[in-house]
């Protein structure tokens, strides 16, 4: 009961914060729409895709996943802000401790990803021919994609030490995950090395599952996609739990490399 209350508190706080950071929320939603409208319109003229799909039709499942990926991951990674500004230690001082903090953050990130992806998905009838059943299936796929995104974000946040690294994470983690997922172009045309990396990328399976759900042809089977996403989510959660260092806020560490050195809290009296 105590742990559930703590998880409830963390989720409620994260959702309240998300709704009040309107520029971040709108920015997250603008990204897929800009891609669909600006890049999609331009590529429609030059892209020749199998099955007679327009580029906008092809890219739409990827845009739904992109919205969920950015929403979910960035919400989870915002743990680093809490670490920097002291809110994390408040959560860690809760009797429910680390498991409740990780579960709460993962759940909140999933909900934010689900919401952002859901807004894009709501525009599906304007781009694709979809049935009500396909929309329901897409919501299921979106839930899995959002959960995987949130948990991957949690894994990144587990060892991220300062907010200065935040922009770097977007460039080094988020964009490669998206570009090597088949969301923007088919993985079939990629060089073998990139294709191999794409196969290890959980986002590839989220995009593929979304394609199946929206009636497009996928590269893998539906259950294969769902299984890969569940496995990646489970592994990410376990790894985040193992890597998460509750003392990190209190114990500063050396700058980089092997010369890691513990030092007393900066504010220590």
């Amino acid at each position: 009961m105590g742990a559930l209350s703590a998880v409830h508190g963390i989720v409620a706080r994260d959702l309240a914060r998300t709704t009040r950071q309107t520029s971040r929320l709108l920015g997250g939603l603008a990204r897929p729409f800009l891609w669909l409208l600006l890049v999609g319109t331009g590529y429609n003229a030059i892209a020749r895709l199998e099955g007679g799909l327009s580029y906008q039709e092809f890219v739409f499942p990827g845009m739904v996943v992109m919205a969920a990926l950015f929403g979910g991951m960035l919400t989870a990674i915002s743990t680093v802000y809490d670490r920097e500004f002291g809110m994390l230690r408040l959560m860690l001082a809760s009797p429910a401790g680390v498991p409740a903090v990780l579960t709460g953050r993962a759940l909140a990130a999933t909900l934010v990803g689900l919401f952002q992806g859901g807004v894009v998905l709501a525009f599906a009838p304007l781009v694709l021919r979809v049935t009500a059943l396909q929309m329901v299936q897409a919501i299921g796929a979106l839930a899995l994609a959002a959960a995987a995104s949130g948990l991957l974000g949690l894994l990144v946040a587990a060892r991220l030490r300062s907010v200065e690294n935040f922009a770097g994470v977007i460039n080094v983690v988020l964009f490669p995950l998206l570009f090597l997922s088949g969301a923007l172009y088919p993985t079939a045309g990629m060089p073998p090395v990139f294709r191999a990396i794409a196969r290890l990328n959980p986002v590839t399976y989220a995009v593929d599952l979304m394609r199946h759900a929206l009636g497009q042809q996928g590269e893998f089977g539906t259950w294969e996609d769902a299984g890969a996403l569940l496995a990646a989510s489970g592994i990410a959660f376990l790894a985040a739990a193992l890597l998460f260092d509750p003392e990190q806020r209190f114990v500063g560490r050396g700058p980089t490399g092997s010369a890691i050195e513990e030092r007393p809290p900066a504010s220590a009296g």
């Binding site: 209350s5 508190g9 963390i10 002291g86 408040l90 001082a93 429910a96 809290p265 220590a268 009296g269």
Partner: protein, 310 residues
């Protein structure tokens, strides 16, 4: 019937950060209901000691129990009895005061009506009603600190650990915070606090002085004061050292502190011969006699390069 366990029992509790010994070995038994001040200069180990007792750091050596619960093996049980105020305010600026407190109540394991009742009570107790719906980022530092205290006390903890709760606050807010903590004391809450405002530690039952990770004093404030001297003479001027020597010869000196401007001498014995000797001294620009304070004891025991001659 067996006696209830002490609020805090620490034995050789210590923590290293790599090669740095932040806290050497804290030995401490605090009965329930006690109010104890933890004093010391920056880097003395106060925050480390508090974080260890609050289960947020693991000790390198030693052990501690809070109301009988081990701080490393029974963290959840310890945390249930604990209210914490960190050195920096821990308030989410995007949430309202009420939402911040509701968040804290849920973290403490309360939910639904119970949480709302605890939040409502804390808002009333701390006088936050007018600001309850304000975004916390609109509050001044003093009000944020009051929200911190409300947060730490809303689940009615048996032990409050406060790391410099009044740092940077105006006298009005400081007064308010100590009056709230005094109510908690009357209700039987055990309080362990650190502060750099030494007068704030005067009403404590006990004061622990820390320096360079070691306990250098642990007594009630009046004992620490009287150990320095019954009265204190502050002596400045070229003839100050001569007068100190003469006072020493008289057997009236308990402690001598060399300060940047002269000497601070803890005196003992009859006042009259001291006053006579001081009156006849030459080369003394300033001489004042006053009662000993906690600050005298603090400087005597915690500072480098200052003589401490009990």
């Amino acid at each position: 019937m067996s006696e209830p366990p002490p609020a805090i029992a620490a034995e050789g509790l210590g923590r290293d950060y790599g090669g740095v010994r932040a806290l050497d070995a804290l030995n401490l038994v605090l009965p329930a209901g006690a109010v104890v001040g933890l004093l010391g200069p920056n880097g003395a180990g106060k925050t480390t000691a508090m974080l260890l007792l609050a289960t947020l750091l693991s000790p390198t050596r030693g052990a501690a129990r809070i109301f009988g619960h081990d701080v490393t093996r029974e963290r959840a049980a310890v945390r249930r009895r604990l209210g914490l105020v960190f050195q920096e305010t821990t308030v989410d600026g995007l949430l309202t005061v009420e939402e911040n407190l509701l968040f804290a109540a849920r973290l403490a394991g309360m939910d639904g009506r119970l949480a709302r009742a605890a939040v409502g009570d804390a808002i009333e107790r701390l006088g936050l009603a007018e600001r309850a719906r304000h975004a916390a980022r609109q509050l001044s530092g003093g009000w944020r600190r009051l929200v911190d205290i409300a947060r730490a006390t809303l689940h009615q903890p048996d032990l409050l650990i406060l790391d410099e709760p009044t740092v940077g606050l105006d006298p009005e807010h400081r007064e308010r915070i100590w009056s709230i903590l005094s109510q908690a004391r009357q209700a039987g809450t055990t309080i362990l606090f650190s502060t750099h405002y030494l007068t704030e530690a005067e009403p404590a039952d006990r004061v622990i002085l820390l320096a360079r990770g070691k306990v250098v004093g642990d007594d009630p404030p009046e004992l620490l004061r009287s150990a320095f001297g019954e009265e204190v003479a502050e002596i400045e001027g070229p003839g100050a050292q001569r007068l100190v020597r003469a006072l020493r010869g008289l057997g009236a000196v308990k402690t001598i502190l060399q300060t940047e401007r002269g000497f601070r001498v803890g005196l003992t014995g009859e006042r009259e011969p001291i006053v006579e000797l001081a009156g006849a001294a030459t080369g003394v620009n300033r001489l004042s006699l006053r009662p000993a304070t906690l600050e005298d004891a603090y400087f005597a025991r915690t500072q480098d390069g200052i003589q401490w001659a009990p």
